[in-house]
Structure formats: C-alpha cells, structure tokens
C-alpha cells in the first residue's frame, strides 16, 4: 500500500468516524484507534495522537452547527469544562503514576455501568421542570432546545451539578491518561446524572471534548505522537463527516441516539476490559 492509498483510505474511514462521533458526542477516536492499529498496524502511540486530532476535529466541526441550532447547552458546557480541563491537565502529568492495565480495567467497568444507566433511562427520558440544585440555579445552567424530530421547543432543568463536576473531572483525567473515552463519560454524566435531554447531552459533550483534548494535545505534539501523514487524512475526513453528522442529530429521535450510544459504549467497555485482562 503506497502513501497515497493510505491517505485516501484513511480519509474515507475518517468520514464515517466523524459522522458517528458527532452524532453521539464521543469524538472519532472510537473508530480511529482500532482501525489504525488493527488494519494499518500503526503504533498505538501514533494512533492515540491521531485520535486526539480526530476528537478536536469532530468537536469543532459539529459544534459550529449545534451551537447555531441551539442544541448545545453553552452555559452548562462552559461551566463543566472547568472540571474536565482540570482533569485533563492533571492527567497529562500522572501518566507514569497509574499502571495502564489497572486503568483500562477500572474504566472498562465504569463504562459498562454507564452504558447500563444510560440504557435504563430509555423509557424515563422526560425533562425535569424543577430543580433544587443550588449550583445549577446560581449559574443558571438550565436550558431549552428545539427538537426537530418532535417539532417542539423542549425546556429542561439541570440537577446534581456536583456529581456532574466530579464525573467531568474523571472524564478529563482518563482522556489524558488513556487518550480515549472523554466523551464516553461526559454523555452519561449529563444524561443520567444531571438529567439533560439525550440530544443536548450529546451536543454538549461534543462541544466540550474539543477543549478537553486541546488541553493534552500539545503534550502529544511534543512527545512526537502526531504524525502528519496520519493526522492529515484523519482531520480532513473527520471534519467532513462531523459536518454531515451535525445535520443528522436534530432529525433523529432521542431514543435512537441513546441506543446507538449504548451500543458503542458497550463495545468500548469490552475493548477496555480486554486490554485490562489480556494485555
């Protein structure tokens, strides 16, 4: 396979990664890392560098549309970024402290549990109308969005901001330590813990993962993990895909988004458990 074939085929796969990543708020890394390591036999360190690039590309590419369409909860997103960026910055300097195997094992279990709580909410996904959460009220993190599928404005209230902040910290920490999975915890944190609607959780997670990834991206660049010939097709492909994916989220039903998210989350958690058990 010549460099041209590589660039062209990786760009095509990245388009698919961008569509999926922007739809469920996970970033493209879920697809990019396994494809690069298993099909192209690229070193895991370079694959993780490409994954960070794909996360930023998905985030910025889709968020431009989500913010304009008022799908993103800007206030909640920017507020929670405080916790996730702190996590990412601390994680980038803790890489040597924790054994990666244990991390994969613990995080695999956490994600398995998250996919269960997210799945369980499939029938009870009704937005809250009251909130006693002091932080959410003070910063006014509540919001409202127009659901294209249901063709109506849906107002919602936010609860459990403290739990949300804690989970966001862990999400940032883990994404810096393992290079993957920042959105995988962000969506359940907002959907299951803070009771944001599923589509808003996905769009807001999508908005935030770019900032989380940017906080550790420079470290990856300095460590020489961002290979230009991999990063170029990934960035261009994912950006194209994310632009397309951002048009889809508004139209599909919340339930569909939730089910796709749960399936992908189960796959990620199995993948992580496998890396923890059989390195």
């Amino acid at each position: 396979m010549t460099p041209f074939d590589f660039v062209a085929s990786v760009a095509l796969i990245s388009v698919a990664a961008g569509v999926l990543g922007s739809l469920i708020g996970l970033g493209g890394g879920v697809v990019i890392v396994p494809v690069l390591t298993l099909i192209y036999h690229v070193d895991i360190r370079l694959a993780i560098g490409a994954s960070i690039v794909s996360v930023i590309a998905t985030s910025s590419g889709a968020a431009a549309a989500y913010v304009r369409e008022r799908m993103t909860n800007l206030r909640a997103g920017m507020f929670l970024e405080l916790a996730t960026v702190t996590g990412a910055v601390s994680g980038a300097y803790l890489t040597t402290v924790f054994p990666t195997r244990v991390l994969f094992l613990v995080f695999g279990l956490v994600l398995a549990y998250s996919s269960f709580t997210t799945f369980r909410r499939r029938h009870a996904d009704v937005p809250l109308t009251v909130s006693n959460d002091r932080i959410a009220n003070y910063f006014n993190l509540h919001g409202s969005y127009y659901d294209q599928a249901e063709q109506q404005e849906i107002p919602y209230k936010v609860v459990h901001t403290k739990l949300g902040l804690a989970l966001m910290y862990v999400a940032g920490l883990v994404s810096a330590l393992l290079g993957i999975g920042s959105g995988a915890l962000k969506v359940p944190a907002m959907d299951s813990a803070m009771h944001l609607p599923m589509k808003v959780s996905s769009a807001t997670s999508n908005f935030m993962i770019g900032v989380t990834a940017a906080a550790s991206a420079t470290v990856y660049f300095v460590r020489g993990q961002i290979d230009p010939i991999i990063a170029a097709p990934v960035a261009i492909g994912v950006l194209l895909g994310a632009t397309v994916g951002a048009r889809v989220l508004g139209r599909v039903a919340s339930r569909t988004v939730r089910l796709v998210f749960v399936v992908v989350l189960v796959v990620i958690s199995l993948e992580m458990l496998q890396k923890g058990i059989l390195p």
Binding site: T2, A57, L82, V85, T117, S144, A231
Partner: protein, 170 residues
C-alpha cells in the same frame, strides 16, 4: 444516580414554574428580568451563539485549507508517494522512527524549507487552537452579557488551557 431531585439547595427560582416565551434561556442574573430586559438578553445570547459558531467555523475552514495544502505539497515533492501501486509503503511514514517535527523550533524550520509535513502540522496546530480560541470568545461573551460568575469560570478554563500549553514546553 437517576433520582429526580437533589436534596441540596432551596427553590430560589421564582420563574421556574411558568416559562415565558422570551425567558427560555434566561440570563445569568440572579433576579428576575422584566420582559423588556429578557428580550434584550435573549438577543445578546443569540449574538453570542452566532459568534461562537462563527469562530469554530473559521478555525475549521482555515485548518482544513492549510492541511490540504500541506498534503498537496507533500505529494508533489514525492511523486513516488502518488502511485496507487508502487514500491513505497506507507509504513515507512507511520513507524515510530519516522522523522517529523515535534517542537516549535523544528516545525518552523520544516515550514521554512517548504516541507509538506511541516505545513500539515501547522494546520493541525490551528485545529488544536480552535477550541482554545472558542473559550476566549466565551470569556468575552459572558462579559458582554454582564455575567460575572460565568465570565470568571470561563477565564479560569482559559488560564488552565494556556497553562497546559506552556507546561508542555514545546
């Protein structure tokens, strides 16, 4: 994790029961706004949303253009890369021993030499800076909305991001 309301806090939002049409995405103020003020606020919030969306769009378009230009330069310099079938394998470019810039000094040098990979990395760095720029615009937006608590939170995020860039020591 999924129970409905938290035990903490007191219900301090008089507006929560009756969502007035212009009130849907309320202000950051802790007192209730008059309908006039709420309308002005809603317009401000909308302008902020459009500004943030525009910043992201510009960042994305600029980085795609730079990355694509870098790819073209790279392929133009190495005609043998372009073949569909040929002796050159991509693996020589994706192994851990492949040389490519990973500090700002080597990156500038590479760009000055007109190397495609340097140009691509410049585009990737533009892409990485886009969310940071978006946070900076967020700070300005909350100042514009006169929402001091949120402006401070966003400013702290920006400080952490800028700090992470310097800590990386590129």
């Amino acid at each position: 994790m999924t129970d409905v309301t938290g035990p903490t806090g007191t219900p301090q939002q008089p507006a929560s029961g009756e969502p007035a049409p212009q009130d849907y995405r309320g202000s950051g103020r802790r007192r209730r706004l008059s309908p006039q003020e709420a309308l002005v606020m809603a317009q401000k919030v909308r302008r902020v949303e459009l500004a943030i969306s525009l910043v992201l769009r510009i960042g994305v378009v600029v980085s795609v253009v730079i990355i694509a230009a870098g790819l073209v330069v790279m392929l133009a310099h190495h005609a043998d890369y372009l073949a569909i079938r040929g002796p050159v394998s991509y693996e020589t470019l994706t192994s851990t021993s492949t040389p490519f810039p990973h500090s700002f000094a080597t990156l500038w040098h590479s760009i000055a030499q007109g190397e495609g990979q340097g140009i691509i990395l410049l585009g990737v760095l533009t892409l990485i800076l886009t969310p940071v720029l978006r946070v900076a615009v967020g700070v300005l937006s909350f100042v514009y909305e006169k929402d001091t608590p949120m402006a401070l939170v966003t400013l702290l995020v920006l400080a952490l991001l800028v700090g992470s860039f310097f800590l990386a020591g590129a």
